[in-house]
């Protein structure tokens, strides 16, 4: 049954593919079960992958599970970070791409989704490497030669090096596949890289002293993965401070430079976008905006989640509801939470 569903989605996706977004591979997140991606042939049936990505998929079939997980966590994180904004990163069930048409234009939102999905893959592949699920993770950066001599001589490099490199290969493939680099491709590549950097920047250095009697005469440090929420929060910050850019020819190569020359040029870790975002107020199939009608808003807030801004001045309805809430929860090892049910009256404000 699931397989049938899956095939249907595939057909749909194949039909409607063809627009500019480099995010089609995120459709991996919709693949029903993990078992689908275990044989090389599965790669051909996967939706949203370009030829090059399918090739990478076949060659790295064991990594694809992690890629799928990365895509799922990227979408989850996007929805968490944008839950209080007019565009709330909602996925569309029927349509050409995971997010509908919204990301077809080179907006801030598109920049964020590229960055978070690239970060998601980096994160998931790194995690898969360190748990031993993937046998082909790299062991480079050792000074002398390759493994196993390299491992014996100087140990292996961080898993994030492989995670980042694999992500660079897979996620960037669509943009790199096109011979001529459009400004949109440049933007996507830049934001993908920014996403990978956000993971590396958030790595936490921890150290341990182990000299004579445990003194700090000998000290070893390593980097640990952060929670993905921290990566998402950092990228959300970068989304807020993203710079608008335009394409410029520097020598024989094209480059992105700030539109407003008075702003200082963006750096590798910053997000960049080409077009201003629509206001996402009303449903518009052209832009893919779903509108904010029916969204709940926060009456006391003056920010974007406040009813004034969220409902674009259309006003809101009040719904009074009695909800059952879990309260006085206690966790029992392992693994369930015991809670009491409390009744609570809440007012919900819904945009007109």
């Amino acid at each position: 049954m699931k397989a049938l569903d899956f095939c249907l989605i595939l057909l749909l996706l194949e039909e409607l593919c063809g627009s500019t977004s480099g995010l089609r591979w995120l459709a991996l997140a919709t693949v029903g079960s993990v078992d689908h991606i275990q044989k090389e042939e599965a790669c051909d049936t996967l939706s949203g992958l370009v030829k090059r990505q399918k090739k990478i998929c076949k060659r790295n079939i064991e990594v694809m599970h992690a890629v799928k997980k990365g895509a799922v966590s990227a979408i989850d994180e996007c929805q968490y970070q944008f839950q209080n904004r007019r565009w709330n990163c909602s996925t569309v069930d029927h349509g050409s791409a995971v997010f509908g048409n919204v990301l077809n234009a080179g907006t801030r939102e598109a920049a964020f989704v590229h960055a978070i999905s690239s970060a998601g893959v980096t994160y998931a592949v790194t995690k898969a490497c360190s748990s031993g699920q993937v046998d082909k993770c790299g062991c480079d950066r050792s000074i002398r030669g390759k493994s196993p001599q390299g491992f014996e001589w100087a140990g292996c490099s961080d898993n994030v090096a492989y995670g980042s490199a694999f992500c660079g290969m897979f996620v960037d493939a669509r943009e790199r596949a096109k011979g001529r680099q459009s400004s949109r491709a440049l933007m996507n590549l830049h934001n993908n890289e920014a996403g990978r950097l956000a993971v590396e920047e958030n790595m936490k250095v921890q150290c341990k002293c182990h000299g004579v009697s445990g003194s700090c005469e000998m000290k070893t440090c390593w980097r640990g993965l952060p929670s993905f929420r921290e990566v998402g929060a950092m990228l959300k910050d970068r989304f807020d401070g993203a710079s608008e850019v335009e394409e410029q020819k520097v020598g024989s190569r094209k480059k992105l430079v700030p539109k407003n020359t008075q702003f200082k040029p963006h750096e590798t870790q910053d997000l960049v976008y080409l077009e201003a975002s629509p206001d996402y107020c009303i449903s518009d199939p052209e832009t893919g905006s779903l509108g904010t009608s029916g969204r709940t808003c926060n009456r006391s807030s003056k920010a974007i989640d406040g009813c004034e801004l969220m409902c674009c001045g259309r006003g809101f309805n009040v719904k009074r509801r009695v909800v059952d809430e879990r309260c006085h929860c206690k966790f029992h090892w392992c693994c369930y939470v015991k809670c009491q049910q409390c009744k609570k009256v809440v007012d919900e404000y819904v945009c007109r």
């Binding site: 050792s142 000074i143 440090c221 939470v337």
Partner: protein, 505 residues
């Protein structure tokens, strides 16, 4: 007091020696910095959450996180069925580039740390919390079919976690790392760790939900071990020759060796013990006590070195008092001995017991922690006392030198020569010692700063940490070799004395 080689050595020979020592010193730094990799490497290993049968005793069967007999694993602990048991399993080393790596005997020792990952969601952490674990460590060698148990133990660790800065779902608690085990040898090819968090009788209720365990495995790099062995093997015969030469000189004296000469020989002997490259044997034999043995050797060397400084300063006090007896230094030496005994007891409590149970840690229980801290504080106090004594004595020597300076021109030729020699000897050692001590402190700071502060992405071609380890090691060896050569009794001096006595007659 007899003259030493240093006084009678011609300037040319002295310069030659100094240059030779400096060259060796620079070479030692460069070997560490350019040839050796970093001293240790750490690998983060995310524990796989395996589902196992509930057995009595717990952890009866080995659960492998990956490989041919892969366990049934789950993604999140919410998926645990009630008739199964959750076991965190880690196996190392991992597969890399489709090659099964194996632990090499060159790694010398293995240390493991665990990192608890707790999502800040249920806010269910009590404080103070204690983590209870059933832990089991096993090994397998190439060609073995089954895992062999190395040790199993029930352990507790204090779990100290800070809530995240942003108190929101999805962020992790910041938990302090917990030491898991320490192995003094790396004799086998593959290792497997199984950890179960028991729940009977309300155990682990205060730790709440633990989402993931990350094990960080730290071992000495094979490349560093090779360089280290080579350095030791090279330095050992040099030191042995210097020691033999010094002993020969002392034996040729027509009097009994004095205290200073004896303590210098003693210093040489402890360094010979420290340098003795018995580590080579670990490549063939299983020697889990090497970590403890190295600690004891180093402790012994440093305690004798500290005692030597006291005796040397005391013997150069120039206050006409005949010392030459160890008993007179009991106050100073007891500070050294006491400090060393404290550290020895602490080390025995940690690494000594780890010989029996690698999972053991003194820091795991409050009593043990207080005891360990008490010993370390006592050792620190003894160290401070020692340092004050030494400073006081050195000041006294300098005061006496000042006083002697004025009366020196009016002295008889022989007496003048005696005192000038004494002063030169003392100042030379002071200079050398201060230089070495300063270098050691600088190295210590560099090790601590360079490790904590990382520049990622840039390939480290110069390994500061390794350079400091080999450099400091070579420095103290060269220091002792110099002492053994320069402070050996001089026969030239004796000849000169005999000549002058003959002319007087």
């Amino acid at each position: 007091m007899a003259g030493v080689v240093l006084e009678t050595l011609s300037n040319r020979k002295l310069l030659g020696l100094v240059i030779g020592v400096l060259v060796l010193q620079v070479v030692a730094f460069l070997i560490g910095g350019l040839i050796a990799p970093a001293p240790n490497s750490a690998t983060s290993l995310l524990a796989t959450k395996c589902l196992g049968e509930i057995t009595e005793p717990p952890l009866r069967d080995w659960l492998e996180p990956w490989g041919q007999n892969k366990c049934v694993s789950i993604q999140s602990i919410d998926e645990v069925f009630h008739d199964k048991e959750l076991v965190f399993a880690v196996r190392f080393p991992l597969m890399r580039e489709n090659v099964q790596l194996d632990m090499s005997r060159w790694f010398q020792n293995i240390m493991a740390i665990i990192n608890v990952e707790k999502v800040y969601k249920n806010r269910d952490l009590a404080f103070p919390a204690t983590l209870h674990m059933d832990a089991r460590l096993g090994y397998k060698n190439k060609g073995d079919d089954h895992w062999t148990e190395l040790v199993r133990s029930t352990e507790t660790r204090p779990l100290k976690c800070e809530p995240p800065e942003i108190k929101d779902d999805g962020y992790n608690y910041h938990c302090e790392v917990l030491s898991l085990f320490e192995l003094g040898s790396c004799h086998h090819d593959y290792y497997l760790v199984n950890i179960r968090l028991p729940m009977q009788g309300g155990l682990n209720s205060e730790t709440g939900r633990i989402d993931d365990l990350t094990l960080v495995e730290i071992h000495q790099n094979g490349g560093f071990t090779r360089v280290w062995f080579a350095l030791k093997t090279f330095v050992f015969p040099l030191l042995l020759m210097a020691l033999a030469w010094n002993a020969h000189r002392v034996r040729k004296l027509d009097r009994q060796a004095n205290l200073l000469e004896k303590s210098l020989l003693c210093l040489g002997c402890t360094l010979v013990l420290l340098d003795l490259p018995v580590e080579w044997l670990t490549l063939w034999m299983h020697m889990p006590f090497m970590l403890l043995f190295s600690d004891i050797r180093q402790g012994l060397f440093y305690s004798v070195l500290f005692s030597f400084w006291i005796i040397f300063t005391g013997e150069h006090l120039m206050d006409q008092l005949e010392r030459n007896r160890l008993v007179l230094y009991w106050k100073h030496l007891s500070a050294v001995v006491f400090g060393c005994i404290c550290l020895f007891v602490f080390d025995m409590c940690e690494r000594g017991i780890q010989l029996q149970n690698p999972f053991y840690s003194v820091w795991a229980t409050t009593v043990g922690m207080r005891l360990a801290l008490a010993f370390i504080v006592m050792a620190g106090v003894a160290g401070c006392c020692y340092f004050l004594f030494l400073c006081y004595m050195v000041l006294k020597v300098f005061r006496n030198i000042g006083a002697k300076r004025e009366s020196i021109p009016s002295m008889a030729k022989n007496r003048r020569k005696f005192y000038l020699g004494l002063i030169f000897r003392f100042k030379f050692l002071m200079f050398m010692t201060l230089l070495c001590a300063a270098m050691t402190v600088i190295a210590f700071i560099i090790v601590n700063v360079s490790e904590g502060y990382w520049k990622w992405g840039a390939d480290n071609t110069v390994q500061y940490n390794s350079a400091m380890q080999t450099g400091v090691y070579a420095m103290w060896n060269l220091y002792v070799i110099c002492l053994l050569i320069l402070y050996a009794p001089s026969h030239k001096y004796k000849m000169l004395q005999e000549q002058s006595e003959a002319t007087r007659e």
